[in-house]
Every structure is written in structure tokens, then in C-alpha cells.
């Protein structure tokens, strides 16, 4: 097989975890890792959706401790490297040491796109363990190309081997991606990657555009399983890349089978762009808020769309899931007051 033109990182077992409220079991992990590995995927990311240590009231408790799942993934993979994600402030450097012992060799250190200096400690720990360290700038639509370059240079100076920008709200149109990737590729010595979401139905085209601007790492999830309206579907990205003449090193048909036979049956609902999902992309709201907002809307009898829009107005960043309850309670109070005035 020829050398792939970009490296594909599959995040079904990490970002996909949001869509199933972090209820993965060992047998799911084994089947998904085996399927991705056999299809030729080079890197498989696995962790709680909010990264190592994410199991919590705020983000949802994992059904099975993530380190048990990670250990299984490391056992069954043959060629694919196993990666994890860590958000400083949620997970600890000690978590990196533990998963490295289990066989995880790639550490993605994720942070809001303006706070790169928080990643120094964890990037350096990952490097000292001999891991590949990837800096992961989330909610990248909230920073300018120049601003992202500044942040990425910090991560590069800490020793990051690759820098990603993540469209965590699925809010970018192709032009936004092109300008950001172009600026990063120009300014950085290390390779650039893009993690796309599909809230505006742009995930695949944005990923291709990122490749054309010089990104050499792209993320996907099987069947698009993931936060918000879902991620860039790995099998579609592989198929579209092939049509563009871009070598992926993966077998699109094997990925399609995996999506259909293994991943889709796990999905509590199809990964479609319904109005709440579209609002995330339209208003630039963190994708993982979607299901939490749905539950809070039900609990307090308020509108999920109103919750999401208010979170956008407050400029909430990834990790502030507690603000969903805050917003729901305030909306409920306002509605009650409005009814009283009418009565």
C-alpha cells in the first residue's frame, strides 16, 4: 500500500462516547478497535468524552471505568496506536502516567483555544513518558487565525509534536477552516490537524479543505458518532478522500461495515442534524452541551433551544456543563414570573 497522504485519527471511542452518554462496555471497545485496526486506521483515541478523568456529575459518569476500557483497547490492537485525550483542569498528569503504562502512546492535550499556557505541564509529562504529544485547541471558531497561531506556537514550544484545531461547536464554514489552517501551516514547524463536527453539515468538506491547505492529520468517528450533531464520519471521509485522489491508507468499505454493523446498533438515536444540533453550529455552542441541555430542558420544562442560545450569549466554553442547569433554572424562573404577571 502507498503511504497515506494524511494521518487519520478515529475518535469513536472518545468523542463518540458523548452520544451514548459514556456508556461503553468492554465488548463494544473490542469490536470497534478490531474493526478500525483491520481497516487500516493508524490512531484510535479512547477516553471518557471529556477526556481522562471526565467521569463526573458534571459530564456524566462512565458505565465502565475508562482505564479498564483503555487496557482492553491496548490489548486487542495490532497496528493502530492507541491515543487518549486529556483536558488540564479535568484530568491529571498522573492519568497520563497510568494510561502510558497500559500502552497508550499518543496524548492529546486539549484546551480552550485561548488558554494554551495551561497545557505546558501535561505536554511535558507526555513527552517525558516518551509519548507523542498533540496540542488540541478547542472551539477554534472563537479565535482568529493569528490568535490561534500564537497559541499553537506556545504548544510547539512546550514540545508538542502536532497541533490540532477542533471545531468543537461545528460552527466553521469552509473559509474559516482554510484561513486558520493556512496560517498555522505557515507559522508552525510541526504538522497541523483538524477535528471537525457536522452541526452545519460541513464536517467532510471542511476536512478536505483542511487537507488542501496543508493539514496532515484529520479526525473522524465511525458513523459520525459524537457530540452535537456528530463528528466527521470516518467512512465518508475515507470515501470522499479517495474520490479526490487523496491516499488515506484505510479501506472505506471495511469502515462502512464497521459503522453499519457495530456502531449503528449502539446508537440510541441516529446522528442527524436536528434543530438543536443545527443551533449549536449556528450559534457556536460547544457540542457536548446538547444532551445535557436536553435533559435539563425536560427536568425544568423549558426549551432546549433557549438553553443553548443563552449558553452562546454567555460565551460558555467546553467544560461548563454546570451552566446548563443554571440557565435552565433561570429560564424556568422567568417563565414563572411571566405567568404570574399575566394572572
Amino acid at each position: 500500500m502507498t503511504t497515506p497522504d494524511y494521518r487519520l485519527i478515529d475518535s469513536t471511542l472518545r468523542d463518540g462516547s458523548h452520544a451514548i452518554s459514556h456508556q461503553y462496555y468492554a465488548e463494544d471497545v473490542v469490536r470497534i478497535v478490531k474493526g478500525l485496526d483491520a481497516a487500516g486506521v493508524q490512531v484510535i483515541e479512547i477516553a471518557h468524552g471529556d477526556g481522562l478523568g471526565g467521569s463526573s456529575f458534571n459530564y456524566g459518569f462512565s458505565a465502565v471505568p475508562e482505564k479498564e476500557l483503555i487496557a482492553r483497547a491496548c490489548e486487542v490492537t495490532t497496528n493502530a496506536k492507541i491515543a487518549c485525550l486529556l483536558l488540564p483542569g479535568i484530568g491529571l498528569a498522573d492519568d497520563l502516567r497510568e494510561v502510558n503504562e497500559l500502552g497508550v502512546s499518543v496524548a492529546r492535550i486539549a484546551v480552550h483555544c485561548t488558554e494554551a499556557d495551561v497545557t505546558e505541564q501535561h505536554i511535558k509529562v507526555a513527552k517525558s513518558l516518551g509519548m507523542e504529544a498533540i496540542g488540541f485547541l478547542m472551539m477554534a471558531h472563537m479565535n482568529s487565525p493569528e490568535g490561534l497561531v500564537e497559541q499553537a506556537l506556545l504548544m510547539q514550544s512546550y514540545g508538542a509534536d502536532t497541533i490540532y484545531i477542533a471545531d468543537s461547536a461545528g460552527a466553521m464554514i469552509t473559509e474559516d477552516v482554510r484561513r486558520r489552517v493556512n496560517a498555522l501551516v505557515e507559522a508552525l514547524e510541526v504538522p497541523v490537524g483538524v477535528h471537525a463536527h457536522n452541526n452545519l453539515a460541513m464536517a467532510v468538506s471542511n476536512s478536505i479543505a483542511a487537507y488542501q491547505e496543508g493539514a496532515r492529520n484529520l479526525d473522524g468517528t465511525s458513523a459520525g458518532l459524537g457530540a452535537g450533531a456528530g463528528n466527521c464520519p470516518t467512512e465518508i471521509l475515507a470515501a470522499v478522500s479517495t474520490k479526490y485522489g487523496i491516499e488515506t491508507g484505510v479501506d472505506p468499505l471495511a469502515l462502512m461495515d464497521l459503522a453499519e454493523e457495530v456502531v449503528r446498533p449502539l446508537m440510541p438515536r441516529q446522528q442527524v442534524i436536528d434543530p438543536p444540533g443545527l443551533i449549536l453550529g449556528y450559534a457556536g455552542v460547544y457540542g457536548s452541551f446538547l444532551l445535557h441541555a436536553e435533559r435539563a430542558a425536560e427536568r425544568y420544562n423549558v426549551s432546549q433551544a433557549e438553553i443553548l442560545l443563552e449558553l452562546g450569549r454567555r460565551q460558555a466554553v467546553g467544560g461548563q456543563e454546570d451552566m446548563i442547569i443554571d440557565v435552565a433554572l433561570e429560564l424556568a424562573r422567568k417563565h414563572a414570573e411571566a405567568e404570574e404577571t399575566q394572572a
Binding site: 458505565a63 483542569g89 499556557d117 505541564q121 443554571d326
Partner: protein, 311 residues
């Protein structure tokens, strides 16, 4: 009691302004703390200039200045860094100077002003945990005292990016580990987790803290809520901008927590608005530290005075 502040950055300068008001932390009486100096290392710092303009000595010789003047100093507030405190804390102790440590160095017993204020009054060194710990441990304690057992507690602290200094940023694990430990050791939770988020929004957001607590079967929900409201008042005695953003709520699960499956959780949504002394009001995370430091320093001063009177 004669005291000095070490560290002329934001926190040290804010504490200076609080102490110079002359009133105690509750604002109801005169403070027993007499500020002798704000000690820095940079002669050109804004904090030292501010000290001099307010008629306070502002030397820039750092810890050595304190040791050189040990006979005239009873207490020091350390607003430097964990590194600096760890290097010098023994010298303060040998010089018979009580240290109230605002850094995460954790050399002395931990004190949360609203919970265990009077537990370590004779200790030569007091550690103040973290800003998030000062804000949330009282609520964990309040919930725990209203129920039989608290299997798991969690706090989420969101602070404005502008109010998170380089110390916090370079060692964010220290913040979460120390805070989590306080939720167990002082708050009374059996297991715990702490999370910190930085938010860069403009204008900067007020410090927000959320406490989640696992409520086992048979917990008295009304008692939990009543206890939380009572604690809000206790903290407000020395941090006027501390408030429940919404009334506490009890949500139905089940929740598969590290302390076991529980049927309900309590959610306490807090906001801390700073007093705006030196720091802007959004920096409630820094304000709650300086306010608690004053409270703790005064408690030690009253305790020493009582001992003298008794002797």
C-alpha cells in the same frame, strides 16, 4: 498583632487594601491586625508603589527583610508562590512568625474560613487550600452535616482567564488535587473530584462555582437545602459577594458515582463577586482568598490575645 504581607502582586496588594480599611473581616469591628509592611522583590512594582502612597513601608528585599525584622513581626501572609513558601516557611517558624499561606505549598494544616476556622489557631503555619476550595468546601460541609453520610462530592470552578495567574496555569493539577482533598478532609465527603475551567469571555465573567453532592437513599432533602442557605449567610459574613446564584436543587438520578449509586444529587450554584478593593469585582476567586486570609489572621490574633489575658 503586627503583620506583613509578602508578595506585592494582585493578591498581596488586595489584602493590603483590605487590612488598611481598619475594620475586621466581618466589617463590624476594628481589625486586630496592624499592617507593618507590604514586602516585595521588585522596587518598581505597582503594589509597592501603592503601599508607599498609602503610607505603608514597601521594602523590596523579599523574605530576608521579614527575617531581619522578626522582632517586630508576629504574623506574615504569604502571597508569593508555592516554591517561595516551601523554601522559607521553616525560617518564619524559627523566627516565631505565624505564617498564613495563600500559596498551594501546603506545609501547614488546611483551614477553610467558614468551616474549621478555630481548629488550628496554635499552628505556626496555616494553609488556605485554593480559592475554589474556600468557595466550595463550606457547601460540601453544609450538605454533609444535614445527612448521614456523603459518599461523593464534586466541585466545578470557572474563573475568568484574566484572573488566573501564571502559578495556577503552570500547575493546574495542584489546584484540582488540593481542592479535591479539602472536599474530603474538611468537607466530609468520602470520595471527591474537583474541576477548574478558564473562561476568556469579555467582559470577564464573575467567578462561578458549582457543588454537586451525592445524596443516599433516605436523605432529608429539606434539611440539605436549609443547611446550604445557612452556610451562604456564614460565608457572607466575610465575603459579602458570595451568593447562591439560584436556590439549591435536588435532582433525581440514579447516579453511578465513585462512592456508589445514589438516587439523588444536590446541585448548588454559586457566584463570587469580589469587593473590588484592588482587583476588579470579577476576580472573586482572588477576593475570596484575601477575605478568608484576613478572617483567619484575625482569628489567630484574637486567640493569642485571649491566651495572653489568661496567662
Amino acid at each position: 498583632m503586627r503583620c506583613v504581607i509578602l508578595g506585592s502582586g494582585n493578591i498581596g496588594t488586595d489584602l493590603m487594601i483590605k487590612l488598611l480599611k481598619g475594620t475586621d473581616a466581618s466589617g463590624s469591628g476594628a481589625t486586630p491586625l496592624e499592617l507593618v509592611a507590604l514586602v516585595g522583590i521588585d522596587p518598581d512594582s505597582d503594589g509597592l508603589a501603592r503601599a508607599k502612597s498609602l503610607g505603608i513601608d514597601g521594602p523590596h528585599e523579599g523574605p530576608q527583610w521579614i527575617l531581619d525584622h522578626a522582632d517586630d513581626i508576629d504574623m506574615m501572609f504569604d502571597a508569593t508562590s508555592a516554591y517561595v513558601h516551601a523554601r522559607h516557611y521553616k525560617e518564619y517558624e524559627e523566627a516565631n512568625i505565624v505564617a498564613v499561606d495563600l500559596t498551594p505549598a501546603a506545609r501547614g494544616p488546611r483551614v477553610i474560613a467558614a468551616v474549621n476556622l478555630t481548629e488550628h489557631l496554635d499552628s505556626p503555619n496555616i494553609n488556605m487550600v485554593t480559592c475554589g476550595g474556600q468557595a466550595t468546601t463550606p457547601m460540601v460541609f453544609a450538605i454533609n452535616r444535614a445527612i448521614d453520610r456523603l459518599p461523593y462530592a464534586e466541585m466545578v470552578s470557572t474563573v475568568a482567564s484574566k484572573s488566573a495567574g501564571p502559578g495556577t496555569r503552570q500547575n493546574i493539577d495542584e489546584f484540582t488535587k488540593t481542592t479535591s482533598m479539602a472536599l474530603r478532609e474538611i468537607g466530609g465527603a468520602e470520595t471527591s473530584k474537583a474541576i477548574i475551567i478558564l473562561n476568556p469571555a469579555e467582559p470577564p465573567i464573575m467567578m462561578r462555582n458549582t457543588v454537586f453532592a451525592a445524596l443516599p437513599e433516605g436523605s432529608d432533602h429539606d434539611a440539605v437545602i436549609e443547611s446550604v442557605f445557612a452556610m451562604e449567610k456564614d460565608v457572607q459574613q466575610y465575603v459579602p459577594g458570595y451568593r447562591l446564584k439560584n436556590p439549591p436543587v435536588i435532582e433525581e438520578g440514579p447516579f453511578n458515582t465513585p462512592g456508589g449509586v445514589v438516587p439523588h444529587r444536590a446541585v448548588v450554584l454559586l457566584e463570587v463577586k469580589g469587593a473590588g478593593d484592588y482587583l476588579p469585582p470579577y476576580a472573586g476567586n482572588l477576593d475570596i482568598m484575601t477575605a478568608a486570609a484576613q478572617r483567619i489572621g484575625e482569628a489567630i490574633a484574637y486567640h493569642r490575645a485571649d491566651q495572653k489575658a489568661g496567662a
